[in-house]
Symmetry: C2
């Protein structure tokens, strides 16, 4: 008997029929003798519906200004689906109880719409488990120290599930979703993409941040920090699939390197076309330049991803970075109005038709020449690299958006990702 | 400057356009210098949608068995509309904050789906009002001493509003709804029905209980107990109607008799076709009979309304009562299985095709002959009376359902309700 956390995403909870399947699946695990904590997302579409109503009511207002109320609003979607799952479990003959985030409580800071979990009190949940109940912990939400409801941001239910698993030292946290695991790349782009049986949490971190939208990045960070064994698997298999088969399915995200059985140098190709490139040209190359440019951008609440500063020439340099496409206009505006005049830079230019392609692999740590192989492959395909960014286990390039699929396919093949590992 | 509570019903909150109107109306009151507390219902249809999902998940389970989870579920509808109204107010330039029932907190007993308010802590709300904010208190819900969310039953937002007004000693509680006040009877049945400018809370109590579905009965009881001035008025007038005109519109429910300006003997005709009649025939007329019959019915959670015990004959009597039509089958079943065998009664018979028609009026206290005039009018129309029940300010008769409209129209005319009071 072990303590197991299940998390079910929005499509897994998307209808009463789907919820009934979730209940039957959870009941199967409970009847096999496990103590079960379940974290469901809102029914698919519900969060968008609620936030859409808010947007209709305050079309010209920055959402930041009413973020406390957005959290009051958005948190209801998960609370409703939690209660529905508790009811479905009871209809299956399983005792169950649902708790809103504030009832557990899951304590967070006060950063509305993107709060961070600070602590979880598991007293109530443990008492219910001991009494033989399945406990539904409402995902995506918490309680700040002023007694306000907070939410954890998009995909926050993943983080809730991992945090609960960490706080309760669960044996494993199973993330049920609409895909059956983590792939070497998006199978819609490369049909030969393979499902990985295991992936290290560091690789997963790079992949999550790159738009392999299987898991929210913060949940992976959490899993790494607290050594939570995380498994991504499908909720669209029949609910009565053999439990041992199910427990070994999907992709296991491991935190121990020796558990990392697939010793490929590159584990996957991630990509992302949500970014835009901005360059500030002819910047005087003096100390503090990066701060003055990026500080102004950060003050406008725009997150910056890849950053490149070119070699200086005649005391001037070019400074480039990428931002989320949705923030492009805001960033350009800030730079033109606040930075250019005081900085004495020549010009701000930008491009929204770019994409970022990354090779990710924990094996890159100990292998040289991986990045240069990537550049060679792209060059052979005639793809011009606009920016390069590297980390220990990832190399990313920014290229013209129209070459994205070509680049991903070529890299997938060049790094033998269509072949099972030796 | 006064403290005013507004309550808006589901149709008043039925769309973002309607919510925007509510916000503009509330802002008008706040800008006129009033401290404003607003209690909104869920958007119309939302509660039914949520409970419908629950029913789909547990079609064969008694809702009592999962009532805690139903409250978790249903309470989300009001929380969402409260947050939306707060956002709409902020878009109108009014500072505002919404609180869920547990945040206020509004403390209740633990009777899930029909909880009763025990206390309201107004500390937070007062602090916000002093700081110039409009406070949205989520209706229909509270917190029990175990930390569970409770709901107050259908129409419970009325009760929330009145309870908040009572706890905070508000000058007046305005119940905005889709009708413009309380009428002498339902205008759909009697086109000549008149709107009452004032009505005593005792009359309103009888009318609310009789299916004049303008206000939840418990909210009227509350208003009477705590002497809350209650006004029922329409939210479908233009929001920018002159505030003094608005403050005098609708129907004022008064608790002081000298404020009761319209001295008619009968104030209104109420009716209700939600009941069914049950008779237990040939009951041995011994002490404790009523308890043994009605106790068993109450144990099955069936509420009984009109009760009649006939004169005894040969040591046997007939015992009749009415129940809600939805409970008819259950009550018959309980009587046949549990009561008949042990009681030695002959038979249980019933009729679902009945209705109850009542004349209501505080003036009946001091006038004799009102009931007999009612019976005469019905007899002149050839309507047979099956049961009679009287209280100080009401006389009700149970008649064949098919005569309902005829009886209501005849009584409305006979008691001069189509004429303004002298």
């Amino acid at each position: 008997m072990a303590l197991i956390v299940h998390k079910y995403g929005g499509t897994s909870m998307g209808s009463t029929e789907r919820i009934r399947h979730v209940a039957k699946r959870v009941a199967k695990w409970a009847r096999a003798g496990h103590q079960m904590v379940v974290v469901p997302s809102a029914m698919s579409g519900e969060t968008n519906r609620l936030l859409g109503l808010a947007k209709e009511l305050a079309p010209s207002k920055a959402t930041d200004s009413y973020s406390r109320e957005l959290d009051m609003l958005a948190s209801t979607g998960e609370q409703a689906s939690s209660a529905l799952l508790a009811i479905a479990l009871q209809a299956e003959g399983m005792e169950s109880v649902s708790y809103a985030g504030w009832q557990v409580p899951i304590r967070t800071n006060s950063a509305h719409t993107k709060a961070r979990i600070e602590s979880i009190d598991d007293t109530k949940v443990r008492a219910d488990l001991e009494a033989g109940r399945v406990v539904i912990v409402t995902g995506f939400q918490g309680l700040d120290e002023l007694g306000n409801i907070t939410t954890l941001g998009r995909g926050g239910s993943d983080t809730s599930a991992v945090a609960v698993a960490a706080a309760m030292k669960a044996e494993e946290c199973l993330i049920f979703t609409d895909v059956d695991g983590v792939y070497t790349t998006d199978p819609r782009v490369v049909p030969e993409a393979r499902r990985l049986k295991t992936v290290s949490f560091e690789e997963m971190l790079e992949m999550a941040s790159m738009g392999s939208k299987v898991l929210q990045i913060r949940s992976v960070e959490f899993a790494g920090k607290y050594k939570v064994k995380l498994r991504v698997l499908s909720s669209f298999t029949p609910w009565d699939i053999d439990i041992n088969e199910e427990a070994a399915s999907g992709t296991l995200i491991t935190f121990e390197e020796d558990e990392h059985m697939e010793q490929a140098i590159v584990s996957g190709i991630a990509f992302n076309r949500d970014e835009a490139k901005i360059s500030v040209l002819g910047v005087p190359d003096t100390p503090g330049i990066a701060y003055r440019i990026l500080g102004a951008v950060a003050d406008a609440n725009v997150e910056v991803d890849v950053i490149i500063q070119n070699l200086s020439k005649d005391g001037k340099t070019d400074f480039s970075f990428t931002v989320n496409r949705g923030d492009y206009a805001k960033a350009i505006d800030v730079l033109k109005s606040k930075v250019l005049p005081s900085l004495g830079a020549q010009e701000v230019v930008g491009d929204t038709k770019i994409c970022k392609v990354s090779i990710v692999g924990i094996g890159m740590r100990s292998h040289v020449g991986v990045a240069s192989k990537m550049f060679r492959v792209l060059s052979e395909e005639g793809i011009n690299i606009q920016m390069i960014s590297t980390s220990e286990i990832k190399t990313s390039v920014v290229i013209d958006e129209k070459y994205m699929e070509l680049a991903v396919r070529a890299l997938h093949k060049a790094f033998d990702l269509d072949q099972p590992p030796v």
